[in-house]
């Protein structure tokens, strides 16, 4: 692994040197065409459709303010729901037939896995705007691929820390996750991190119902019989909705179990009154329409209001991830143009510029690392009912700084989480972990 890492670093350095050596100025195109992959069909369209709405809104804003580098931004959307192979064909068609050099892809980690090497081959800038798999940027050093949000490791380690602050003395834990890469990996990271801080925690049940399962009654019965202290559920979309409703109907939330649902933020409005108080909720980053630090920021308020007018609901994390990707892209292009003496930059120059960027969307500032990974704070909290809203809100919010919970450059998450220093727990009592109430 070390040899591969050294080889990739050497290759990256050589390519960088070569790139900088040759004349990199490109002819300035008439408009900036970008391709965006998102789910507009299938189960994950609960994420993809809001994200598309956000993209359309924000691109219109950017164009009204003069575009990127003076060029109008023209997006083309690809539906990830048509399947990995068809999506790949469309991706390549956009690049090779229509000359698109900037792509935002994807929501599904599986699709990111397919696309990252293709983008590198085709030499187009690829911004991973939503997929969470940490494995892509850890396995290889990419020149054209960056990620403008956190990854699964950051999300799950932050979740562990919040849980320990919220309920420090628990002994047993169970998991009900969707049976696919995210469900399995998120559990692995969670339990390995937890064992660092609580080596004698006991796992009483590991249940992985299949993705898209419509009935969790057996799993719920088992949880009721076992009565664990903590239950982790990283499901999303229809699966999470079904689980929450069925659990509520069966009275599973009435016991002493603390439920931890890192993707609950995206389901809160849809679930309405079905969400009880006291569930630890995550938002895959510091996204929330009632963000403790930016909710009263006029730019953010305007975004929330317009999004609600356009789609009928408050923005959820995919919309924010899209915003981060677009703002990061804009900042990256502007930095690259400046570094290139005002001439239009090539994709690898923009990618290089993005790797040293700090930019702000609607949350805290995001800083990008040399390996392309973005450092994004994580918002976690506990659900609460507020009479002003027909749905649950997130209270006792903590913004976990990314630097504490992201795998360092060059390391693999699997190993790093096991080597975390338990003394990190001391940070729970510092001001970094102060709680913000919902207003």
């Amino acid at each position: 692994m070390k040899r591969t890492l050294l080889k990739s670093l050497a290759l990256a350095a050589a390519t960088w040197a070569l790139g900088h050596g040759s004349a990199l100025a490109q002819d300035k195109p008439a408009e900036l065409k970008i391709g965006i992959t998102t789910f507009t069909s299938g189960a994950a369209s609960v994420f993809g459709v809001p994200a598309k709405a956000a993209a359309e809104m924000l691109i219109e804003d950017i164009n009204k303010a003069g575009g990127i580098g003076g060029l109008k931004v023209v997006p083309t959307f690809i539906d990830e729901g048509i399947g990995g192979d068809k999506m790949l064909s469309e991706y390549r068609r956009l690049v090779q037939e229509q000359g698109v050099r900037t792509m935002l892809a994807s929501i599904s980690s599986g699709n990111c896995n397919i696309i990252a090497p293709v983008a590198e081959d085709l030499k187009v800038l690829n911004v991973m705007w939503d997929c969470g798999t940490e494995k892509i940027l850890e396995a290889k050093r990419y020149q054209y691929v960056v990620r403008t949000q956190a990854n699964a490791t950051t999300e799950m380690v932050a979740t562990v820390l919040y849980l320990m602050k919220h309920r420090p003395d628990f002994k047993t834990v169970a998991v009900v996750n969707q049976d696919y890469a995210w469900g399995r990996d998120s559990w692995e990271i969670f339990i390995n991190t937890l064992k660092v801080f609580k080596p004698d925690v006991r796992v009483v049940a590991e249940m992985f119902p299949k993705l898209g399962a419509s009935d969790f009654s057996t799993e719920i019965s088992r949880l009721q019989a076992l009565r664990p202290d903590v239950v982790l559920n990283t499901s999303w979309g229809g699966d999470l909705d079904t689980f929450v409703r069925q659990a509520g109907q069966r009275g599973l939330f009435r016991g002493n179990t603390t439920f931890v649902m890192p993707l609950l933020e995206s389901s809160l409005e849809r679930l309405g009154a079905a969400v009880p108080e006291g569930i630890v909720a995550g938002a895959r980053g510091d996204h929330y329409w009632a963000h403790p630090e930016t909710a009263s920021d006029p730019r953010h308020k305007d975004f929330v209001a317009r999004f609600k007018a356009k789609t009928g609901a408050n923005p959820i994390y995919p919309a924010y991830h899209m915003a981060q990707a677009l703002f990061g892209l804009k900042a990256g292009y502007e930095a690259a143009i400046k570094a290139n003496g005002g001439k239009w930059p090539a994709p690898e120059q923009v990618a290089a510029a993005m790797r040293t960027l700090k930019f702000k969307a609607f949350g805290r500032e995001i800083s990008m690392r040399e390996d392309g990974q973005g450092l994004e704070a994580q918002l976690l909290g506990v659900t609460k009912r507020d009479p002003r809203y027909p749905f649950a809100v997130i209270d006792q919010m903590v913004l976990v700084p990314a630097e504490l919970v992201t795998t360092p450059v060059g390391q693999q998450s699997g190993n790093w989480v096991k080597s975390i220093n338990p003394a990190l727990a001391k940070v729970l009592t510092t001001s970094q972990f102060q709680t913000h109430a919902f207003k």
Binding site: I82, S89, E90, R93, V95, G110, N113, Y180, A181
Partner: protein, 315 residues
């Protein structure tokens, strides 16, 4: 349709494919996928000749594809070797499963195939540590005939190979149909008991046909895997098997050329319908199929051959 006309049509299609992919390189991927599909459809038309339809044959494509992925990851074999081994694996599986399968006919045959394919699908999805779970397995681009090629070169080479394989498969299938075994296979549909009276073991003939169909599906699956660099359990889902049968009828189940014509039409309708009418492409294809069944049950190939035969006869 006269055999020289068939050669003409095949040749024309081949020339069209080469010209189009040279002009628009991004088309190589959909063409490769269509060819892979076409190979699998060839396998299914062998079964249709015996009057049987399998709603589970995508499992052989899936097995071959996963075999290619495993071997590609573990041993970094050459692409040609991977295709050969993947297909061999599917053939062996077909031979083994065929031993049970040949006792069934009609709806029970279809159901048992479906059952096997769903067991495989569930296993591939569940045992993620080995199979990569529902996200599937990725593998790096292998060498081609010993050469390390860039993406563009690899795809051109793979396309050339796939075209050769398609022609070969088509030829093998038609020769098989014309052979004694192939004729006996057709007799299973018309009157199996009489076949037994002749002293020919229907089960053995059917087994031979089943192995051939599994091999062709496996060949298609291997090409598919190499084109994508990724295999997922969806390759073996029952809806996939249904699509293969769909294409067989769409293109025309009487001739191997129909299989490929159907595969190309299906692939490109799906691609453009998905781009233009996101969310309604399944409906479009479904309606097309219903129309075809009522208007032209012998498929596009049937329509073509009638046209060309008519043109020839009127001379």
């Amino acid at each position: 349709m006269a055999s020289n006309r068939i050669v003409l049509v095949a040749g024309a299609l081949l020339a069209a494919v080469v010209a189009v992919t040279a002009a628009a390189p991004w088309l190589k991927t959909p063409v490769l996928l269509a060819l892979a599909n076409g190979l699998a459809v060839c396998g299914v038309i062998v079964l249709i000749r015996a009057g049987q339809v399998s709603f589970g044959h995508a499992m052989f494509a899936s097995l071959a594809g996963y075999g290619v992925a495993f071997m590609g990851r573990a041993w970094q074999l050459d692409a040609l070797l991977l295709i050969a081994l993947g297909t061999l694996g599917a053939a062996l599986a077909g031979a083994l499963i065929g031993l049970f399968m040949v006792r069934y006919r009609g709806i029970f045959f279809g159901m048992l195939n479906l059952a096997f394919s769903m067991v495989l699908f569930s296993v591939l999805g569940k045992f993620g540590h080995v199979t990569g779970g529902t996200d599937g397995l990725r593998f790096d681009r292998p060498t081609f005939a010993g050469q390390t090629l860039e993406r563009a070169g690899f795809e051109t080479a793979l396309l050339a190979l796939a075209l050769v394989l398609a022609l070969a498969a088509g030829w093998v299938v038609m020769r098989y149909f014309a052979s004694a075994n192939g004729q006996a296979l057709a007799a299973i549909k018309t009157n199996e008991t009489r076949l037994e009276y002749l002293g020919i073991s229907a089960k053995r003939v059917f087994w031979g046909g089943y192995v051939l169909s599994a091999t062709l599906c496996g060949l298609g699956g291997s090409v598919f895997a190499l084109t994508q660099g990724l295999v997922t359990p969806e390759m073996g889902y029952w809806v996939r098997s249904g699509e293969i049968v769909f294409i067989a009828i769409l293109g025309g189940s009487g001739h191997a050329l129909g299989a490929f014509i159907g595969a190309f039409v299906f692939e490109f309708v799906k691609l453009y319908a998905a781009a233009l009418l996101t969310g309604a492409w399944q409906m479009v294809l479904g309606l097309v199929l219903i129309v075809m069944v009522f208007v032209a049950p012998t498929g596009i190939f049937g329509l073509l051959s009638r046209r060309l035969a008519g043109a020839g006869a009127s001379r």
